[in-house]
């Protein structure tokens, strides 16, 4: 943990005595979550954190009792409960004047699906929680079933001929709560990712970070290709890198070429799309629609209308 990251751009200056993700974790090779946790470790540096991890891949990561691969205090919560358990931790920290950042580390199953009511409620109460969703677009822990984060066309163990429905718009949903901060993070753009983690760690109120998290096991992709895939997702416009302040001020952080080539490579490199006939023209249309909306939102200067 001593080497300067990214030519020193994001060197923390203060290294944690222990990384948040320690050796001995059980993550699959090439898991995007591992990269996310390494980045988190850098971002957290010497801040005091307490983590809540629901029954996602992220808690299997810890390995069996009495060992834990987490170099930070962690409470494992039931699947739907991360944001509520974190609420409890955060209130006690506040009552005791402790500057502890309470953060949830949860997959898409625990966020988009079973935890939705809990997250929505914690956001509505504007609890002082940083919620990070590593979105592998699948129930990875249970062997790869569809979730509401699974993209249309993806083959999972419960959608043999490809998922029929669109991925849920979690950024729109969270932003609609009017919380202080919502952002998406690309691990192919580590400076941006790092700064967002930092910013979110030091803000108050409910902050929601979303990270597209390659899952070689579920995506049927090469473990070494994860970061490339995310880069292609960004370049193709499939995964916009944005942030939303107070639910209304939208900022596009990484411009996208909306590259057709990147889109083709993204789908071709993942076995989960192999068996279905993805209509790339349709996907393209949806991407363009989404970007027009994004650009309108970003251009809409809410400062001016009061």
């Amino acid at each position: 943990m001593q080497e300067p990251l990214l030519d020193g751009i994001t060197q923390t200056g203060v290294d944690r005595p222990e990384p948040i993700l320690r050796a001995g974790n059980t993550n699959c090779g090439g898991c995007g979550m591992s990269i996310g946790l390494q980045m988190l470790s850098r971002a957290v540096a010497d801040r005091t954190v307490q983590m809540v991890i629901p029954a996602c891949c992220g808690i299997v990561t810890a390995g069996p009792f009495p060992h834990s691969a987490y170099g930070a205090p962690v409470v494992a919560s039931t699947f739907a409960s991360a944001a509520a358990v974190a609420t409890g931790l955060a209130h006690v920290a506040k009552m005791n004047g402790e500057d502890t950042r309470v953060l949830c580390w949860a997959g898409d199953g625990g966020t988009y699906d079973i935890g939705m009511a809990t997250i929505s409620a914690a956001a509505e109460r504007n609890e002082d929680i940083l919620y990070i969703c590593y979105d592998n677009e699948i129930y990875g822990n249970t062997g790869g079933q569809r979730s509401s984060a699974t993209p249309m066309g993806a083959v999972t163990t419960t959608t043999a001929s490809g998922k029929l429905e669109q991925k849920k718009d979690i950024v729109g949903i969270m932003a609609a709560h009017g919380i202080p901060y919502v952002a998406t993070m690309s691990m192919a753009h580590p400076e941006d990712l790092f700064h967002k983690m930092r910013r979110a760690l030091d803000m108050k109120g409910f902050r929601f970070l979303h990270m597209l998290s390659p899952c070689p096991t579920g995506w049927k992709s090469e473990p070494g290709e994860g970061i490339n895939l995310v880069r292609q997702a960004v370049e193709s416009g499939l995964y916009p890198v944005v942030e939303v302040f107070d639910g209304h001020r939208w900022v596009v952080n990484v411009d996208s070429a909306l590259s057709q080539g990147a889109l083709e490579s993204y789908f071709a490199a993942q076995g989960r799309f192999g068996k279905t006939k993805i209509d790339l023209a349709e996907v393209s249309k949806a991407i363009h629609r989404n970007w027009r909306l994004l650009q309108m939102r970003a251009a809409f200067d809410t400062q001016k209308i009061s």
């Binding site: 494992a76 509520a84 609420t87 409890g88 209130h91 409620a121």
Partner: protein, 385 residues
């Protein structure tokens, strides 16, 4: 100070006093969510000013318990309340609270499970949770509800125990009924409930609460829970003495006998049925029946030895259950008949299901019915409504 209050308000008041008593500790709080007939207890709590206290109005019972888990694992004293389907919905986190050995205290207002919807008393909701690892106390009146809540904190927070406690009261019969209740001063409660010290709370150290347990670790952890449950009996007795010292009145033990010394026929019950049983015993005695009543106050851990001792002389026992395990019968009966082998007859009666109003004469009829029997038959459903 004596106050005329409902058991719901008594519970809210007990939680408030216990919460304030932890102001020098890591504070007090809990997640709260309304459900009939418990709502007034959390409304009451939400209106109180509690120094170093934080009550979170959450979106479900599932989250109410999750907030308690978060707060308790961070070292705070916690309270929530629920009932019926709320408890069923909360179940997953009820189990977690016990697995994590968190001394959470909950008011559980016994109400019939639905749908079809029925808001009246029935014990099936909390009995559904008998295997969750919680201590369960069932109360007879408002004073006992109030006292048991304070007592529950002392019991749960004892380092030899560290298990959550649910204090169960009958819907409406207690929850909405005004009774004169003796309320202590804050400093008396402070004396009885010192700040919570929880060795295994989460801190800034890299420790994981939860994670994975393989079979062997699970064996060890379950064994530890069972040992802690077994220690409850002795710890309970110790704290009974402390309770009396702090408040100048006694608190009942795990089983509460009434005229059982020479009793040949005994009714065993839980909750407010115990109060009705006492009246039935008096009537039966006037008619020359050597009747007695035994109320099971603590259902978990199951006070097997106390029951065996108290029922030594009984020839015939009627276990009256305000619950039904379909395909088995009365739940209290099914547990008790395995323990008590000295009686000739241990007969199960299901009575007051779904809130049917059980009167003393119904229980006198049970004494009469029992007199006629020389062997038990499957659970008898006695309709009273």
């Amino acid at each position: 100070m004596k106050k005329l209050i409902t058991a719901n308000h008594a519970a809210g008041l007990a939680a408030t006093l216990a919460g304030r008593a932890n102001r020098k500790g890591r504070g007090f709080g809990g997640g709260v969510y309304p459900i009939t007939p418990q709502t007034e207890s959390i409304e009451f709590l939400s209106r109180q000013e509690i120094e170093k206290g934080s009550v979170v109005r959450v979106e479900s019972e599932h989250s109410a318990m999750a907030v308690c888990i978060g707060m308790a694992s961070n070292g705070a004293r916690t309270f929530t309340a629920s009932s019926s389907n709320g408890l069923a919905y909360m179940t997953e986190n009820v189990i977690t609270a016990a697995m994590y050995r968190l001394p959470i205290v909950m008011l559980a207002v016994n109400r019939t499970l639905g749908p079809p919807w029925n808001i009246w008393v029935d014990h099936n909701d909390t009995l559904l949770l008998r295997d969750s690892g919680w201590i369960q106390l069932y109360c007879e009146d408002n004073q006992e509800a109030f006292d048991s809540l304070l007592f529950a904190y002392r019991l749960s927070e004892d380092p030899r125990v560290l298990l959550p406690t649910m204090v169960c009261i009958d819907a409406f019969v207690l929850s909405h009924t005004l009774m004169e209740t003796d309320i202590p001063e804050q400093d008396q409660v402070d004396g009885f409930l010192p700040p919570l010290q929880m060795q295994h709370r989460i801190s800034d150290k890299p420790r994981t609460m939860g994670g994975l347990d393989f079979p062997h670790e699970t064996e060890v952890h379950r064994g530890q829970m069972q040992d802690a449950m077994n220690r409850v009996f002795k710890v309970y007795e110790e704290h009974q003495k402390a309770f009396e010292k702090s408040f100048g009145r006694s608190i009942d033990g795990p089983v509460v006998p009434y005229r059982t010394e020479d009793a040949e026929v005994v009714i065993v019950s839980m909750g407010t049925l115990g109060a009705t049983a006492k009246q039935a015993v008096d009537t039966a005695r006037e008619r020359g029946i050597k009747a007695g009543s035994l109320r099971v106050k603590m259902f978990r851990p199951f006070p097997e030895q106390q029951l065996v001792d108290a029922l030594k002389g009984a020839k015939k026992i009627a276990v009256i259950d305000r619950d039904l395990s379909p395909g088995m019968g009365g739940i209290l009966w099914s547990e008790l008949r395995g323990a008590v082998r000295t009686a000739d007859v241990v007969q199960s009666y299901l009575i007051g299901l779904g809130g049917g109003d059980v009167r003393p004469h119904h229980l006198v009829e049970i004494f009469d019915d029992l007199a006629e029997r020389d062997r038990p038959e499957p659970s008898i459903l006695k309709e009273v409504a």
